[in-house]
């Protein structure tokens, strides 16, 4: 039988989110509990009497609900295996499995809670001062510390599925669905803008959803309770077809160019807005007193949420501590929910006669003590009472009184929720009257209104919101519009700073995430961490999961008092995105590692190819045996799918000049129908990429690049064209064409069966190009020989790929045609000493050191890299790229070192077993004195050093006869 939920509930009210007619059953720590649809996990658990919701980070203290708004760390639990879920804002679902975390064996009895008694051994920064000598001590201590730290547990397998991503655009984005935000949205829409309103709650209304006070003179509404006003505004928003309201959506970041990052359920929205109105309200701050973290001590607004939104009765007797009017509002609500009010302490010197709520409470017989503050909460596992003390000059005296209570409501003023504004570079200034640090110097195109600007009254929030909406829609200026500065609402009184000084042994928490007390902060200051930035880093205050929402105000206040400096002078720490923690899964979006297949991929799979990754492409490495495939190419014919080759179509009057400028070679002089090898250098003369350039017409070239380099080369072309008024167009046609290389002594015999183009040696010579049909496919045929044999690169539209492949395989059958992959190609090209840039060269290699002087035409006026190469030519060479053949049976790996004794003096860039020589061979960088034909070098392979002979000439067909045949 599930544990029923009705006992802790208040009579039904309109503002309640839970639907008491629809019970759902969920599991908590293995037991069944009843909740209602609309409940959050926390409201359901609180209703059945759960008070300890988590264990704290450092001391493992019991923690109960604090903010009931998803801001603080106190209710983080594991839900269906996912850790650190804020139970107070997570709707309960039938069958949900909720567990406590960071406690063993249970939340109520946690073994590690003994740490709490060792707090004097662990003051702020204790770990910096301990375990440093001897080294072994830290090695032993660290794993223990590590096991204690951390909150939830990473599930073995991910819980959530893939997320969805969408991009949207809007005229005006309004963040925050309270009175200011809704008013901003409505006025912007009326002014003609398309508006997107983003709010993290399930229903619009913001803080006035739980505001039962009656407000007079609300613009467009008149006199209404906060709750009614929220209803009215929300109805208008929903009825307005220019406004799209995204509820249950968290705007977690505001980035450059008014880009909002928003999460909603399992999806993420990138919302780009012309202007953004920020109406995110404020966070209530806790009070700093001894044991202010005991379960039962809650923010006053948290209690109001519990009562009005969740219909849950918080307890039976409450003490209320406040620094301004807010405590009285909350006290009235507690009274209304049937609680007894033991006492209200107010840090201000006089009873707030101006305040209806205060008078009403007094008339009901509630004891109110001005010039008093709560100094201690009492109880072991939950609050059973508290002690208040009289204040003199803002400091506590020994004049104390004790009260019994099971709830302590605290209200330490408000802190603007200005994270989004700060992320975009907004400033802040301390407002003495309000005792708040308010946004200042708003970023361009961003408005702000309501609580975030220090407005407390509903009327003022609506007025300022409306003005912000009009401003955002019209797009003028940048200032915060509306009433200049935060208006003093009628009834609003200046707050009085609460006492902050720590008593010896007191546990007055400033930061609930990291268990930082006020004494920790003052100790840090005494040690020399006097500015807020270093103090933050030393004490770790504001660095936990709440990222300062609960603690920033009190942190700065404690520091200011201890250093006797003004809050304005101390400033504040930097707020960084995200405003609310956001899961990696939602950010990552759908699987998105790009992968490209060639149009022949299916063929390769049919042929049983071993597939490898080549940049983002997947292509055959080999089919059966690289050595045998290599033999087939050398003796008969082979074909390889090289569709991954980068391909650029370059056209226009200025394309010859453009290529002359970018490449080290001449291309304006290249005859139509001819091909030339092309090398691209960076400004400093180092090798960037290579490929071939074919002139198809006076003003048209077909350029190939390396597989990995095409995007860079395309960008490089466009970079040098930009702003130059160049009449040239570069189009990346890589995926438009399939490419097959037919190579080997029988390549011609194979090809001639499939085309009318005359492929005889005289008619179709080496480094020439022709267009014609091959196996019915309109093809560009390039006679090139990367692997060192008679061969053609056939470029044709990708849709013909399988047809041409099959035709070639059939035609070559009688010659023993073999498909070959990249591994075979590597061996073959290596025998020809054809380099692969970025494998055989790196970012400091230039063509002079790489044995490619022949490509560099210094007789040209200018080209990119000329200056660098001219300078390089005059300096001594440090290292040269040369060939080597092993003198013994060793076959080095790519990446082995060339050594002199035990000193590395060079490196092997490519190495394989040669099918023609039967030995290990390859290319390496070696010092110039050794990089000469016939010299002996030493290569270290798997720890064993072997001798090798240096070769300056290609290993195979050095004269290139076979290529030209």
């Amino acid at each position: 039988m599930p544990i029923l939920s009705e006992q802790g509930r208040l009579p039904n009210a309109e503002s309640h989110l839970a639907d008491r007619t629809r019970p759902v059953v969920f599991e908590f720590n293995g037991r069944q509990f009843e909740a209602y649809e609309g409940d959050t996990i926390a409201s359901a658990l609180y209703a059945v009497g759960v008070r300890t919701f988590s264990r704290s980070f450092k001391y493992h203290r019991s923690r109960g609900l604090l903010c009931v708004a998803g801001s603080c760390p106190n209710c983080m639990m594991s839900v269906d295996g996912a850790p650190n879920v804020r139970a107070c804002v997570t709707p309960v679902e039938a069958g949900m499995r909720v567990r406590h975390q960071n406690a063993w064996p249970s939340q109520e009895r946690d073994f590690l809670s003994f740490l709490d008694r060792l707090d004097r051994l662990m003051p702020v920064g204790f770990y910096y001062k301990t375990f440093h000598t001897p080294k072994l001590l830290w090695k032993l201590a660290r794993p223990l510390i590590r096991r204690v730290a951390g909150l939830g547990r990473v599930p073995r397998d991910p819980i959530s599925g893939p997320s969805r991503h969408e991009s949207r655009h809007t005229d005006v984005a309004v963040v925050g669905g309270g009175p200011a935000g809704m008013s901003a949205a409505l006025s912007a829409a009326t002014a003609g803008a398309r508006v997107t309103l983003v709010d993290d709650q399930q229903e619009l209304g913001g803080h006035i959803r739980y505001d039962s006070r009656i407000h007079a003179g609300l613009p467009g509404i008149g006199t209404a309770s906060g709750f009614e006003a929220a209803r009215r505004l929300a109805r208008d928003v929903e009825a307005n077809d220019r406004i799209e309201a995204l509820t249950g959506a968290t705007a977690f970041g505001l980035y450059e160019g008014n880009l909002l990052g928003i999460t909603r359920g399992d999806s993420m929205i990138r919302l780009r807005a012309k202007r953004v109105a920020v109406a995110t309200g404020s966070y209530e701050s806790p009070l700093v007193f001894d044991r202010n973290d005991l379960p039962g001590v809650m923010l006053s607004t948290g209690l109001q949420r519990l009562i009005h939104l969740h219909g849950v009765k918080p307890g039976t007797t409450a003490m209320v501590g406040t620094t301004d009017d807010q405590g009285y509002y909350a006290a009235l609500d507690l009274l209304g929910a049937g609680l007894r009010i033991a006492v209200i302490t107010d840090t201000r010197p006089a009873f707030p006669d101006h305040l209806d709520a205060a008078r009403e409470l007094r008339d009901s017989g509630v004891l109110t003590l001005p010039s008093h503050a709560i100094v201690r909460a009492e109880g072991m596992k939950r609050v059973v009472g508290g002690v208040v003390a009289r204040l003199v000059d803002g400091r506590t005296t020994t004049e104390e009184r004790q009260f019994d209570a099971d709830i302590i409501a605290m209200s330490g003023g408000f802190q603007p929720a200005s994270g989004l504004l700060q992320q975009l570079g907004g400033g802040s200034r301390y407002d003495e009257g309000l005792d708040e640090t308010l946004p200042d110097n708003l970023p361009m195109g961003v408005m702000a209104a309501g609580g975030v600007m220090g407005m407390r009254g509903v009327r003022d929030a609506i007025i300022q919101g409306r003005a912000a909406g009009i401003e955002a829609a019209s797009g003028h200026g940048r200032a915060a519009p509306g009433p200049a500065g935060p208006a003093q609402s009628p009834g609003r009184a200046v707050s009085a700073s609460p006492p902050l000084e720590g008593r010896l042994g007191a546990k007055q928490f400033v930061c609930f995430c990291e268990d930082v007390t006020s004494r920790d902060i003052t100790n840090g200051i005494d040690e020399g961490f006097e500015d807020v930035q270093t103090l933050k880093r030393y004490s770790t205050v504001t660095m936990g999961p709440c990222q300062g929402k609960m603690c920033h105000k009190n942190f700065v206040a404690v520091a200011a008092r201890h250093t006797r400096r003004g809050l304005a002078e101390l400033g504040s720490t930097t707020a960084r995105p995200p405003v609310q923690p956001i899961s990696l899964g939602v950010l990552a979006g759908p699987d998105r590692v790009p992968v490209k297949y060639t149009p022949l991929h299916r063929k390769h799979l049919e042929l049983g190819a071993e597939i490898t990754d080549s940049n983002t492409w997947r292509r055959p490495r080999l089919y059966r045996d690289a050595q045998r495939e290599a033999q087939a190419v050398r003796n008969g014919v082979g074909i390889i799918d090289i569709s991954t080759l980068g391909k650029l179509d370059v056209r226009g009057r200025d394309s010859p000049a453009l290529l002359d400028k970018l490449y080290t070679h001449h291309f304006s002089t290249l005859e139509v129908g001819r091909i030339r090898y092309g090398l691209l250098c960076a400004d400093n003369g180092t090798i960037m990429d290579d490929g071939t350039v074919t002139r198809l017409a006076e003003d048209r070239y077909f350029v190939t690049t390396s597989t990995a380099g095409v995007e860079t080369v395309e960008e490089w072309f466009k970079w040098w064209m930009a702003g130059e008024d160049t009449c040239a167009h570069v189009t990346n046609v890589t995926s438009g064409y399939a490419v097959i290389n037919v190579a080997g002594p029988k390549a011609r015999d194979t090809l001639k069966k499939l085309t009318d183009v005359d492929v005889s040696p005289r008619a179709f010579r080496y480094m020439r190009a022709k267009e014609g049909e091959v196996a019915g496919a309109p093809s560009l045929m390039l006679r090139i020989g990367f692997v060192g044999e008679t061969g053609w690169e056939l470029h044709f539209p990708a849709e013909y790929a399988e047809r041409v492949w099959d035709a070639l395989m059939d035609a070559g059958e009688e010659f023993g045609i073999a498909p070959f992959g990249t591994e075979t190609q590597r061996i073959l090209r290596l025998e020809k000493m054809h380099i692969i840039p970025s494998q055989d060269t790196d970012m400091v290699s230039n063509p002079l050191d790489s044995g490619m002087e022949w490509v560099v035409k210094m007789d040209k006026d200018d080209f990119i890299g000329r200056g660098g190469l001219a300078a390089a030519a005059e300096r001594p060479v440090r290292s040269r790229l040369v060939g080597f053949v092993m003198k013994n049976g060793a076959v080095p790996h790519d990446g082995d070192a060339v050594v002199d004794g035990q000193t590395p003096i060079g490196r092997v860039t490519s190495s394989r077993l040669s099918p023609t020589m039967g030995r290990g061979f390859g290319l390496c960088w070696a010092p110039p004195e050794l990089a000469e034909q016939g010299r002996t070098i030493h290569i270290r392979t798997d720890g064993i050093v072997s001798p090798a002979e240096v070769r300056a000439e290609p290993f195979y067909d050095p004269e290139g006869k076979r290529l030209r045949e």
Partner: protein, 404 residues
């Protein structure tokens, strides 16, 4: 009972008008230089910083300590620094929270394995513990890694560097500052250098809002603003500044106990003693002094992290930030004297490889100041190498994305 005495970490001093040495920048490089100068008996030294102590790149670094570099020039330097880090906590009597967790650089393709092997070979020859391991051993060290075959980016091999670790970046700043202070060095945060004075080809001091300070030697030890500092001395350095972003998750119980890095995915991940997972990536694709983070990079880091460690899908990012990196053309630092400008010493160009170099950079810079001789370890990093075509190519050992 107070178990720990409250001692001030460092003193406050009025700024004097002359010092033997003025160091610009109170980050790890400046403070390390100051600390080692103090150890060598040179204590008439002031470290000036425009902001708070270690508030620039030091505050934003993910503080990985390793020495598995690529070139014969850089490996000995980083090896020395690594060794100094191992003894630094005892030396400073300050726990730097050095966690020698080890590191895996993952290779997803033949070409990335090639670069990793090259590093392993050079590391072994130059006395750095690193080697290539296969998927079976990777699985033993980090079973959380997605080793499934047939993935788009399969895990083929890794460069395993057992002594690699991480330190608490702030602790290094504070420990060095305290050590320098105890040796008599003055540290002046919130004291911006606004000018560098010169006479007859020699730097004579600096200007600050609090007045002119003359100095026998001025050291530029900033990161992120080096070119603006050297410009005050009329010096042009081949540095372009790029932001580098990182993020951390909420704290979770121990999940992975090794740094995992992938150059192909441009991401690295480790877990701190506090339980937070630190995720870092490549430098941004454009040059700027803005230290604001971007949504694009956050998404990219998240996607790359999950590609390696899919179990982290439900773990939440708590904070993202950006720092500035002074990138050099060859991904190596610029150190030592400057031809034609006496009295000015560079300890800069720290890109994405600076934090781990701090002890060695400080000690060699101090040695240079003390002896007037450039130590062999930093000889390859002289500014003149850009004129002499003697670049040190450390690109493949930096995770940084390709930038032109």
């Amino acid at each position: 009972m107070m178990v720990f005495r409250k001692n001030r970490m460092w003193g406050k001093h009025p700024l004097r008008d002359a010092y033997d040495v003025v160091i610009v920048g109170a980050g790890v490089h400046g403070l390390s230089t100051a600390y080692y100068l103090g150890q060598m008996g040179i204590s008439n030294v002031a470290v000036l910083d425009k902001g708070y102590l270690g508030g620039g790149a030091s505050a934003r670094s993910t503080a990985i300590i390793r020495s598995n570099y690529l070139t014969a020039e850089a490996i000995p330097f980083f090896r020395e620094s690594h060794k100094l880090y191992q003894g630094l906590a005892s030396e400073l009597s300050f726990n730097l929270l050095f966690d020698e967790m080890g590191r895996l650089d993952i290779g997803h393709s033949e070409s990335s394995v090639y670069w990793l092997r090259l590093r392993a070979e050079f590391n072994q020859l130059l006395g750095v513990d690193s080697r290539i391991i296969g998927p079976a051993e990777i699985k033993k060290l980090a079973p959380q890694i997605d080793l499934r075959e047939g993935k788009t980016l399969p895990i083929m091999a890794a460069l395993y560097h057992p002594p690699a670790g991480v330190v608490r970046h702030d602790a290094v700043v504070w420990g060095l500052a305290r050590g320098a202070d105890r040796a008599g060095v003055e540290i002046h945060p919130f004291t911006e250098v606004t000018g560098i004075t010169r006479r007859n080809g020699r730097v004579t001091g600096v200007e600050t809002p609090a007045g002119r300070v003359s100095a026998g030697m001025v050291v530029s030890a900033t990161a992120g603003w080096t070119s603006t500092v050297t410009a005050m001395a009329g010096l042009d350095v081949p540095i372009v500044t790029f932001p580098l972003q990182a993020c951390v998750t909420e704290p979770v119980k121990p999940f992975v106990h090794i740094t995992i890095s992938s150059a192909d995915l441009h991401v690295y991940v480790y877990q701190t003693d506090r339980g937070e997972l630190v995720i870092g990536g490549p430098v941004d694709p454009y040059s700027t002094y803005s230290q604001r983070s971007t949504l694009d990079m956050l998404q990219e880091l998240a996607a790359s992290t999950l590609e390696l460690l899919p179990a982290l899908r439900d773990i939440k990012i708590m904070r993202q930030w950006a720092g500035l990196c002074d990138m050099t053309p060859d991904y190596a630092p610029i150190m030592g004297q400057v031809d034609g400008l006496d009295g000015f010493i560079l300890n800069c160009g720290w890109g994405t490889w600076g934090f781990k170099a701090a002890p060695a950079s400080g000690r060699t810079t101090a040695e240079l100041i003390a002896t007037g001789r450039t130590p062999d370890l930093i000889r390859p990093f002289a500014l003149s190498r850009f004129d002499d075509n003697a670049l040190v190519n450390e690109r493949a050992a930096a995770i940084a994305a390709a930038i032109h």
